[in-house]
Amino acid sequence: MSSAVEVLEKIKRDASPIIAGEVKEPQVLVGIATCALAGGAQDTLDAVESAMDGNGSAGLGKVGCVGCCNLEPLMEVRKPGEPTRMYVNVDPERAAEIVRRDVMGNSPIEDWQMEAVEGIGALAPEGAPAPGEDHDIVDRFTRDWRRLDFFRRQTRICLRNVGRIDPESIDDYLAVGGYSALAKCLSELSRQEVIDIVKESGLRGRGGAGFPTGLKWQFTHDAPGDPKFVVCNADEGDPGAFMDRSTLEGDPHSVVEALAICAYAVGAKRGFIYVRAEYPLAVERLRIAIEQATERGILGDDVLGTGHEFRLEIRLGAGAFVCGEETALLASIEGKRGMPRPRPPFPAASGLWGQPTNINNVETLANVPAIILLGAEWYSSIGTEKSKGTKVFALAGNVVNTGLIEVPMGVTLREVVYDIGGGIPGGKEFKAAQTGGPSGGCLPTKYLDTPIDYESLKAAGAIMGSGGLIVMDDHTCMVDIAKFFLTFTQDESCGKCTPCREGTKRMLEVLERITEGKGEALDLERLKRLGAAAQRASLCGLGQSAPNPVLSTMDQFPEEYEAHIHDDRCPTGVCSALVSYVIVEETCIGCGLCKRVCPVHCIAGEARQPHEIDDAICVRCGACYEKCPVDAIAIK
């Protein structure tokens, strides 16, 4: 009988990758991911297709998102022996022009390339070493547009293939070393050895709690019971975060491979991937990946010819945030309401249908094949003493380069926001970064030089969370943000336990009062008391962490709460009950921009004359305030 490695070699010999590997003919790669589609990438793809129609031998491929969501649609042109070129904001007209001039012709258009974008950073010299990069498996940042600061400061392990391969082609994945880690485990490593490698790597759960992954695998491995299950948590509930979506859309096979490795290690024959229903493209690509892997004999009843059995099923969430919590998620797979239950017993001992179940987050899993191939020592050399490896962040909000990045643990917030993120747009100031979403907290300016790792963030009153990183500028009201998160958790509380159900509701009432100018001096004390009770007494992480955004903003920005309560004033002018907009006569240049953006037409004035706002009609949307080029609109 041949070993799994030999079986895989044979599969690879018959593979024909679409875009991975050497460039032998001109290629056009269009990024097709949710962010790209939102930016209009489908029209771009159609335009490229029709422009290339019947025009020679150039190939056209689809890739996941390289991370610059705000520059979508993105289009990469590759030609043999030439540096590759990344074009940004490619609408259908641009696409046709690029095909004509660059792909078919020989004159690349520099102005439309990524290097020309402001804020994306400087280009390092050709061949300059990038930090942390030492292996082909991991994305290299030494060539072409990848030398830009935005990329070069990253270390992509989880995202190693995203944007580099066609996610709908298993042959592409095989060409970049895909499924070699699984083959290695099956033919060279015992189950315990696999678990030991994961333990020694120091990998911790990326779903939020940061529990050591190897240890979790060990618990499931040791738990008595058969059958056992493995589950991938792709529910990604934090609103404003899209790490898992991007990984699944750009490199679904890496998660499938990791689940197969995990199943081998813990002794499971069945697995489930629980994906948010809001992610149709991720679901579709996962479905294709599972189908392809089954066809090639990588999944099924004889995994890589070893006699091991492993099958995967996709389950869709249905719009309940609490289902990201592991016990609620398992209840949902069982066909019940997604309500959490007290732990212990932990799923490792008693999970799906009461059987031992290992549950891990998408990002946690996507790291595993790289760790198996490159070793625990390599992985643990990246990061800080207690936080090993890298973390993917979804950089969003008031920052120039919104998108997806992966950085070694221990980089500072400043590096992320300014060096990679390109700073704050519109000449505004950094106010705070929010991590951990509805369970997390805020990091104001004084924490800009804090290293990003589990311990430092916790000490600063925030958490690592799953990777949502929302940057907020000085036009953001922190009381309003606290209210925003609490509205979310209150709405998503499943209602099973009282401290969460009632606690979030009462806290929200207080916050609503404060933002309406009806706050009392005692309200701050009330928030603290209610928050502490919910933190201590709630059944699951949702209620235990729901007060965090409130308590953290109260802690960091006490003066803002006081202004709302004592002065009936919202310093940033966000809380509409507390503001009215007026045009400062002396400053107004009468350009009429405010008049044009006003949705209710409550602004009047002749051209080049000072304008006026009718406060009785004004809906306080703030559109004029944002638009005014000379800051002539004041908040009262």
């Binding site: 969501c69 899209f242 309940a320 979804a394 949705p599 949307c621």
Partner: protein, 179 residues
């Protein structure tokens, strides 16, 4: 309700046969845990019908051997499942954190004002349903609005009236083509 615009009605014998086939497939995946087919089956109904009608809920309950109240209990727990019909166009304004920070509340308010409905409601003519979405995964393009399957990126309040007008025109065009 003076519904002028209606979605295609799928309530045919073939439709029920397809549903039964799907239920059998799902049941076969986890024999011994038939109930675990419930949520996939509800997705199937919602995807094809736009909501979970009572008839379908009864039928699903019978096929899976659970009480109808159980099916309602599960369906009503998950916000993705709708128990009432929706408009021809479902407008989903993202109020996830990234979109909120970029001003999506003003966009939502403007849709509500234009359509004269609150989030969660449908217009009287059956044309629009307005919903809030909690992150559509396109945070880099915030604020994001999705109308059925179509994305609108970086939407500002002043664009709302055009978006509403475009879809209204599209619906009228379809309607007159049918008549």
């Amino acid at each position: 309700m003076t519904t002028r615009f209606k979605k295609e009605v799928l309530d045919t014998p073939a439709w029920w046969q397809d549903l039964d086939r799907f239920i059998e497939e799902e049941k076969a995946k986890n024999p011994g845990h038939v109930q675990s087919a419930l949520i996939p089956v509800l997705h199937y109904v919602q995807d094809r019908y736009g909501y979970i009608p009572e008839k379908a809920a009864n039928h699903v309950a019978q096929s899976l051997g659970v009480p109808t109240v159980y099916v309602w209990g599960v369906a009503s727990f998950y916000s993705y499942f709708s128990l009432t019909p929706k408009g021809v166009y479902t407008i989903r304004v993202c109020t996830g954190t990234a979109c909120y920070v970029q001003g999506s509340q003003a966009v939502l308010d403007e849709f509500a004002r234009r359509l004269e409905i609150k989030p969660g409601e449908s217009t009287e003519d059956g044309l629009f349903t307005l919903e809030e979405a909690r992150c559509l995964g396109a945070c880099g393009q915030a604020p994001v609005v999705m109308v059925n399957e179509r994305f609108h990126a970086k939407v500002q309040p002043e664009q709302v009236s055009d978006i509403v007008a475009d879809y209204t025109a599209e619906a009228h065009a379809t309607l007159s083509a049918e008549e």
